[in-house]
């Protein structure tokens, strides 16, 4: 309904006029209060015991009729408002939407070229919350030309939530913020036995996905569990241990202090799991909203913090099967020191030019069609119901 309610407010004179039409069915209802054609009969006795239940039925029918008529007029008003809005606010030229962050950073030349290309009337500065405003604009106003978005590449600038955009936007991203906020560096040593290599592969895939999205520079080393040497783990932030627990315990004392260990219990033989994915690619919610506590148990062993996953990684209901597993994993790895600020500076990933966008227009799904269908249904129903009214068999 966003598409139709976008500019549809009580301040709109057309909306007020449409509201006035709602009085018509209400008046009909009130004038129709004493329902039914009057028929004088010789003796009421024969009809009397057919009475009580029927009256409520008739009342119900009248309220239903009232509701249907109100619905019809409301739908009509909405459809007309939608049509008139389309007629009056059809943006047929290319449009540019500029975020305040971009406007602040842009040089005069860039602003000039923007103005030369689109003109002042086709350039719109977005206000917070930026992503929501952009989506509303795209769903409520018909755009016939291309839509260009000028922004910095920090996804945090778009507001707390940045969902996926369903429309082919032309992105113009400034890389400045990336330089201002250095990438997070994370050194991970993955220790896995041969049989648990599939789990390691999934973890690596998830880490790679999140690295791309969150501006994390991951240094990854993979070691076999058999030849594990604690001395080789200098400069490692995390050890992800996918091996026998006894071997780890024997090596714990030798680990450099402050090294975090993530321990995943062994899955039952033959367990498999869907591959790790990230939904809504290229954009996804970046707020650290996934509580990690249910998945984790922290213990201190030999001066090191050992995080033990409560459940195996593989298996039908394992966390790796969750669509937001990469985010959960990232949060586990970055938890304490990195808050929202760090995430919001992660880069906006724009679709590659080779991506095939569906051939859609703005707004993508005009509601008028459905509203008209609904209107016709309501109207037919109303006609049918009122034809059942006080008529005779000819």
């Amino acid at each position: 309904m966003v598409a139709l309610f976008g500019d549809f407010s009580l301040m709109n004179a057309g909306a007020l006029a449409a509201l006035a039409t709602l009085a018509i069915p209400i008046l009909i209802h009130l004038f129709n209060r004493s329902p039914g054609q009057r028929v004088v009969v010789g003796s009421i006795k024969l009809i009397r015991h057919a009475k009580s239940r029927r009256v409520t039925e008739i009342r119900l029918m009248h309220y239903l009729l009232l509701f249907l008529r109100l619905l019809i007029f409301t739908l009509l008003a909405l459809i007309l408002a939608g049509l008139s809005m389309q007629a009056t606010s059809n943006l047929d030229k290319d449009q540019a939407y500029v975020t305040p962050a971009w406007a602040e950073l842009a040089s005069d030349e860039e602003k000039q070229s923007l103005n030369d290309r689109f003109g002042a009337e086709n350039t719109h500065t977005l206000q917070a919350p930026i992503w929501a405003q952009l989506i509303e604009q795209l769903t409520s106003v018909k755009h016939s030309g291309e839509v260009h978005v000028y922004a910095t590449n920090a996804s945090g600038a778009f507001g707390p939530q940045m969902g996926s955009a369903q429309w082919p936007l032309v992105w113009h991203l400034r890389p400045e913020t990336e330089a201002a906020v250095p990438a997070i560096k994370l050194a991970i040593t993955m220790v896995a036995t041969r049989e648990r290599q599939p789990e390691a592969d999934q973890l690596i895939k998830a880490l790679t996905l999140m690295g791309e999205h969150r501006n994390i520079e991951t240094t990854l080393r993979t070691l076999g569990a058999d030849g594990f040497d604690a001395g080789s783990t200098q400069d490692t932030d995390w050890i992800i241990w996918l091996g026998p627990k006894a071997v780890l315990e024997s090596q714990l004392g030798a680990l450099p202090p402050g090294t975090n260990v993530l321990l995943a219990p062994k899955a039952e033989a033959g367990s498999s799991s869907p591959a790790a994915t990230l939904p809504g690619y290229p954009f996804s919610a970046y707020s650290p909203i996934n509580p990690v506590q249910p998945f984790l148990q922290n213990t201190v062993l030999g001066g090191n913090l050992v995080h033990t996953l409560n459940a195996p990684l593989l298996g039908q209901n394992a966390i790796i099967a969750k669509p937001d597993f990469p985010e959960i994993l990232t949060e586990i790895l970055l938890s304490d020191e990195l808050g929202e600020a760090r995430f919001s500076n992660s880069p906006v990933l724009v679709p590659q030019s080779g991506d095939n966008w569906p051939n859609v227009s703005y707004p993508q799904a005009p509601l008028e069609g459905w509203l008209i269908v609904l209107l016709v249904i309501a109207w037919v129903f109303e006609r049918w119901l009122s034809e059942r009214g006080p008529r005779r068999n000819g």
């Binding site: 004493s34 329902p35 039914g36 054609q37 009057r38 028929v39 004088v40 009969v41 010789g42 003796s43 009421i44 006795k45 024969l46 009809i47 009397r48 015991h49 057919a50 009475k51 029927r54 009256v55 039925e57 008739i58 029918m61 059942r388 009214g389 006080p390 008529r391 005779r392 068999n393």
Partner: protein
């Protein structure tokens, strides 16, 4: 006032007799068989001359043959008294819904035509006729009489009858009923919708002795078929009580109640030995009358 007589109806029934089942005891010549023996055309029997017999009634030819005095007796055809009793209560003002813009006869209209035609037949065959229309507001009475002028008086009174409120209780009209309770025939036209038992009380008190009561019940097409749809506010013609029903759903209940009512009415009247004829006011009067008269002729044999 002649408007109550429809030429078509009259043409159909004018040669039919209106026959009472009970044997009449009247004196004047008429169409009804008389139990009294006496002067007449149809020979019945001879009986010996007795003191007081008129000498002119002696059959002299038989005297010549038998040398005895015989008096020739004939069956006398005689007239009877026929009362037309009309229920003029409010419910009789009901008519079916107008069809194609034409208003239809109310039960009272139909009854007026019916009584006009029947009384015409009765007066034509020499019976004495009387008319009574009863409602709680007003009573119209034309006493028994015969002849052209008397029939006109009945027509005049018929034209004046308007539907009143209720049918009067028996106590209210007891005095008037005296004149009905005499040998003869009472044709009672009503819809037989009653609030208490006023109508059946009346029939009970009339159907005694040598009075034959002919009950004619009037119904209408709408009452028979209940053709309403949707929300209908039914209003009682007499009490004004209103009932709002969804007609389509009420139809079955109504028809059931209607059948029960009819069955009960027939039972009650049968118990009183009253002959009930039901006429639909939305069907042609001539056919209904023809059937009615033919039926009566058949019953009488």
């Amino acid at each position: 006032m002649e408007t109550f007589i429809d030429p078509k109806t009259l043409a159909r029934v004018k040669d039919m007799p209106l026959i009472a089942k009970t044997v009449a005891d009247g004196f004047l010549h008429g169409l009804h068989q008389s139990r009294q023996r006496g002067v007449g055309i149809e020979f019945s029997q001879y009986r010996p001359y007795g003191d007081g017999d008129d000498l002119s009634r002696i059959d002299w030819k038989l005297f010549a043959r038998s040398d005895r005095y015989f008096v020739r007796e004939a069956e006398r055809e005689s007239e009877i008294a026929i009362w037309f009793l009309l229920d003029a209560s409010g419910s009789m003002a009901v008519s079916s819904e107008p069809q194609a813009g034409n208003t239809r006869w109310s039960k009272l209209d139909y009854a007026a035509h019916l009584i006009a035609t029947l009384s015409y037949l009765a007066y034509g065959q020499g019976d004495r006729i009387g008319f009574m229309a009863l409602s709680s507001n007003r009573q119209h009475i034309v006493p028994l009489g015969s002849g052209d002028q008397h029939w006109s008086a009945i027509l005049l009174e018929l034209a004046r009858v308007k539907a009143g409120a209720y049918f009067p209780k028996k106590e209210m009209i007891d005095a008037m009923l005296k004149s009905l309770q005499q040998p003869g025939m009472v044709v009672m036209v009503s819809d037989f919708f009653e609030h208490g038992t006023e109508l059946l009380d009346l029939t009970k008190s009339l159907a005694v002795g040598k009075t034959e009561l002919v009950a004619i019940q009037l119904t209408s097409a709408d009452e028979e078929t209940f053709p309403y749809k949707g929300a209908v506010r039914f209003e009682d013609a007499e009490t004004g009580e209103q009932v709002l029903v969804s007609a389509r759903n009420a139809r079955d209940t109504y028809l059931e109640a209607k059948t029960a009512f009819q069955r009960n009415l027939e039972d009650q009247l049968l118990r009183q030995s009253v002959d009930l004829t039901t006429l639909n006011i939305d069907e042609p009067l001539d056919q209904a009358l023809y059937d009615f008269l033919k039926n009566r002729a058949k019953v009488t044999g």
